[in-house]
Amino acid sequence: MKPTRPQLSACLIVALATSGAATWAESGIAFVRKAESAESSTAYVGTMRAVTLLEDGSHESKLKVWADGRGRFRREYASGPAKGLVVLLTPDTSWRQEPGSDDWLELPGRKQDAPADSGLLGRNYDATNLRGEKVAGLACRVIDLRAKHPGNPRKTLWVEIRTGLALRTDQYNSDGKLISKSYFEELSLRRSEDASLFHPPTGQQTRTTPLTENLRPLDSAAQLARACGHRPDLPRDVPPGYELAGYFARQCRRNVTLPALRYFDGLNTLLVFEQAGGNGRRGWGRGRGWQFHGGRQDCQFQESPQQKVVRYTDGKQSYLIVGDHNRDALVKMAESIR
């Protein structure tokens, strides 16, 4: 039967709409990739405002930011709960000067423990190109980044069309609640003349933060097994989209070394810690907010707007999972650790 003209027109409209949607979605992913690389390759100086929802309510902060276009950043907080905080990031090392302190804490840099993406972001997230909008007077594309698997956080990015820099980020938690909004109020795309901005002042004391002492990144499960004296217990049920992306040896009290694992889905991190003792005598004790039933299988759960914590004990061993994901999936993950 020969198709009629209206039928042909309808088919044409559907085909055009489908191909248009595909291109639109693809350009969303392309914008996200651009934002990822522009973050460390664009030099700028600017001021930002951020509103963050923490356990005790919402906080507003103002900060000044510098980037040298070679992966080095400086953030200085001028107001809010972090007033006085200075953060320096470089590919190899980063430093923090906490408010009211003269010391600079040294932390691992991006190269050392950033998980390799290996296409996870594209596989696990859909980027929808929503509309055009201006931030700090610059034209941006608004990209909605949503997980393909339920239970994950999501974010919306305002990506500057010319440079690809994300000028505004709205972060939603796994319950769909807006937990953080940060945006540029002023932005000047120029390199700062002062190279000393990206390093602690010479002569000022730097000390290594416990993270580098207590949570040592390792390359493989074999290295981790050697460091801890036993093979790490792995969860058999990992939320869809997540892959094992990092091994850490955690030095705890009494010179015991325990494994910690990092799971990553391209945007979001879940950490699994093995804890000393499962019989209620060691580890966390019986502190406020946590009930611990000695020698029995038990699971506790705590949440804040930013992340969830599950602690599971099977009677012999305890495990702790930290991350922002659906509660049931985290409990299932904890229960499957063997």
């Binding site: 990822e36 973050e39 951020a50 963050t52 923490l54 356990e55 005790d56 906080h59 902060s61 953030r75 809010g80 709960p81 972090a82 953060v87 990031l89 923090r96 906490e98 804490l105 423990d113 950033a114 980044l145 974010k155 990015l157 994300a166 980020t169 972060q171 953080s180 940060s182 416990p210 993270l211 207590n214 949570l215 030095q251 705890c252 910690a260 990092r262 945007l267 979001n268 991190t269 950490l271 966390w284 502190g287 406020r288 907010g289 946590w290 009930q291 038990d298 699971c299 506790q300 759960f301 705590q302 804040s304 930013q306 914590v309 602690r311 702790l320 930290v322 991350g323 049931d328 409990v331």
Partner: protein, 161 residues
């Protein structure tokens, strides 16, 4: 969870007297076990019947009997002989000292803030914040604030979990 455990917990689950995790375990067991689901229906039906049943009124003689028994019960020895003025004064001084000690401990141990829900998990949450900083497109500013708040709540950043 097996059927015996589940049936033991069913009445508690019905009146919401179980913790979240146990409730989930019972819920999961019920989803897979038709026998326990029937048991739950029976339990609910019985509770409904009991709620509808007329309440019996106790006869007046019962209270008179209780009154009589109370009147015949041996009376406890008076404390009057024990409480001399000297002992009372000593006791008051002791109580005062104890109250002062408790007050000092409480004020020293309570900072201005409210108890924090993540006090015990703080070191682990801080590890998560610091490691997440290096994730692509991470919410750097939000993570900075979280780290500051966690360090403040933890007291000292060198505390080992």
């Amino acid at each position: 969870m097996d059927c015996d455990n589940a049936r033991e917990l069913l009445p508690l689950a019905e009146v919401e007297a179980l913790g979240w995790w146990k409730r989930q375990q019972v819920r999961r067991h019920l989803a897979d076990c038709p026998d326990c689901r029937r048991e739950l229906e029976v339990l609910r039906a019985t509770a409904a019947l009991l709620a509808k049943a007329p309440r019996a009124k106790a006869p007046v003689e019962i209270w008179r009997g209780i009154e009589g028994a109370l009147a015949q019960a041996p009376v406890r020895k008076s404390a009057r002989g024990f409480l001399t003025p000297r002992r009372i004064a000593g006791g008051l001084v002791g109580l005062g000292l104890a109250a002062a000690t408790v007050a000092v401990l409480v004020f020293q141990r309570s900072p201005a803030r409210e108890p924090h829900v993540f006090d015990h998990a703080a070191p682990f949450v801080r590890y998560h914040s610091i490691l997440s900083q290096n994730d692509p497109l991470s919410d750097q500013v939000g993570l900075d604030l979280r780290s500051v708040v966690l360090v403040t709540n933890e007291g000292t950043p060198s505390q080992k979990p």
